[in-house]
Symmetry: C2
């Protein structure tokens, strides 16, 4: 499997420690809820979204410690969505990151509340943390952007469209529309939020980074659909073949596996194209793009 370079692995360790710090201790009341929040957030995941935040920061010359809270808040939103998506009433998954899902480890009620509380915590951090230095107006922009990306016109809306589409025929544009919301909005938010933290960024740079995010967001999803077919449960850390079992429309089911693979290649090329005007400071963004299209889980 294609690995991450040392710098990106360093970011993975960094966000692990930031998340550990911002989550309430499991000894703090209500202990079961805090335990469930920590169980789902810590020790797992590729941390693609935090990596994107940090690598965008590198590209734009933002000191890394100024991005910790942004990276953590996005990851908390991502994890809350995984907890809720895994619930029996939604995708009904028992396994996530090679561990029992939150509602299997605890129970459904705690899983619902853990997700709810993680969303609140993400907001709280952006509004109140003294650990990142940003003027109040920019903090408000970050909060506005993240809440929009995760709400009914973003991630939560995408999941609703996904559920409504299960078992139906979808065209490729309809499938793309769903993914732009379900996973694309939050991946885009990583890069947009890092751009807000920059002191000095041109409109063109912002546009190109945003287009890069849109391309890799979609590539990420097409690759996910392919892995659901090609990989195995142990490597994935979640149930292989879940899409087919749930009768979900995927890129391979619409385009065929060969064309789906080609689509990943095309999106990868397009993504890199949008980084053409950035120098070596964008190398880690390029590396993440490679990782996304070549990953095995």
């Amino acid at each position: 499997m294609m690995g991450l370079n040392n710098m990106l692995m360093g970011y993975q360790q960094r966000i692990e420690s930031v998340l550990d710090n911002v989550l309430p201790r499991a000894t703090l009341n209500p202990t079961q809820l805090h335990g469930a929040m920590r169980y789902s957030v810590l020790e797992g995941g590729k941390r693609v979204r935090p990596l994107l935040v940090y690598a965008t920061g590198e590209t734009l010359g933002i000191p890394v410690q100024q991005l910790d809270i942004v990276a953590a808040s996005i990851e908390l939103i991502h994890v809350y969505s995984l907890i809720h998506d895994d619930l029996p009433a939604m995708d009904d998954d028992d396994l996530r990151r090679n561990k029992p899902t939150c509602h299997k480890q605890y129970d459904e009620a705690i899983a619902i509340l853990a997700g709810d509380a993680l969303q609140a915590l993400a907001t709280y951090l952006l509004a109140s943390s003294s650990a990142y230095h940003l003027v109040a107006e920019k903090r408000l922009q970050l909060i506005g952007l993240l809440s929009l990306a995760s709400g009914s016109r973003g991630m939560a809306g995408g999941q609703a469209i996904d559920l409504a589409s299960t078992g139906k025929e979808l065209t490729e544009p309809e499938l793309e529309y769903m993914h732009i919301h379900k996973t694309g909005a939050l991946i885009r938010a990583c890069i947009q939020m890092a751009c807000i933290c920059a002191d000095d960024i041109t409109d063109i740079q912002q546009h190109n980074l945003d287009r890069f995010a849109q391309c890799i967001g979609l590539a990420f999803q097409v690759r996910d659909d392919i892995l659901d077919i090609e990989s195995d449960t142990e490597t994935l850390g979640k149930t292989q073949g879940a899409d087919i079992a749930a009768n979900k429309v995927t890129y391979p089911s619409i385009l065929g596996l060969q064309c789906a693979r080609q689509k990943v290649v095309d999106l990868h090329t397009e993504a890199l194209h949008y980084l053409a005007d950035f120098d070596g400071a964008a190398d880690n963004l390029r590396h993440i793009a490679d990782f996304i299209v070549k990953r095995l889980k």
Copy 2:
């Protein structure tokens, strides 16, 4: 039943219209999700929390239009918590505000997502709405306060304690601890957030209003427990006797009905005491306190 005066009924109409405006249209994609959000938020409820925001604003001389978004954001958080609390995995209620609960009218998945999206919308409004005029620092304070009051150390935490306590023996202090989080934190937030919007407020005023909020928050809950025994399903708009059926510890079950009634009277007296230094501008706060302890639903 004790009614509201014309001014408070005017606020009820006002918040109905504000909520209607801030919620995405049901014709906007994803239509089912937006329909579910509107179904649960609109046309229902006593709107006690928005009334508290507006009446605190009156007490402090804040123009009413500056409080619309604050009142709406708190009510959205409250409704999201009702949707999630009513789910089968939580309190499993079929009826709310005399209508089928969200998961009965739609389905569980949509109910989970509608709650999630309402939480995001509440945050989005406070961060980005141009409909209220407040400096960025104060907006951040509002967002920080609401996310803290609704998260694991506030409302969501209180619900987790409630679920963990069901079927267990609780002492009165333990029961109070649960309610201080489950319902108290958000009721307190109403008054604290209105105080943040004030140009000019002394520490003593803020302290007294906060203590008022704590007293009526608890009185609200004790009254709720009594109504669960004394009222009927049609008046309540939710299932009567649900606490007993779920084997929940309540104030009447610990104190006896007579002492629980006395506790409401005592909390009411204490609440009014904290308004003693405010003039007639606080009359609507006094009226809400009366309403809370005398209401029949």
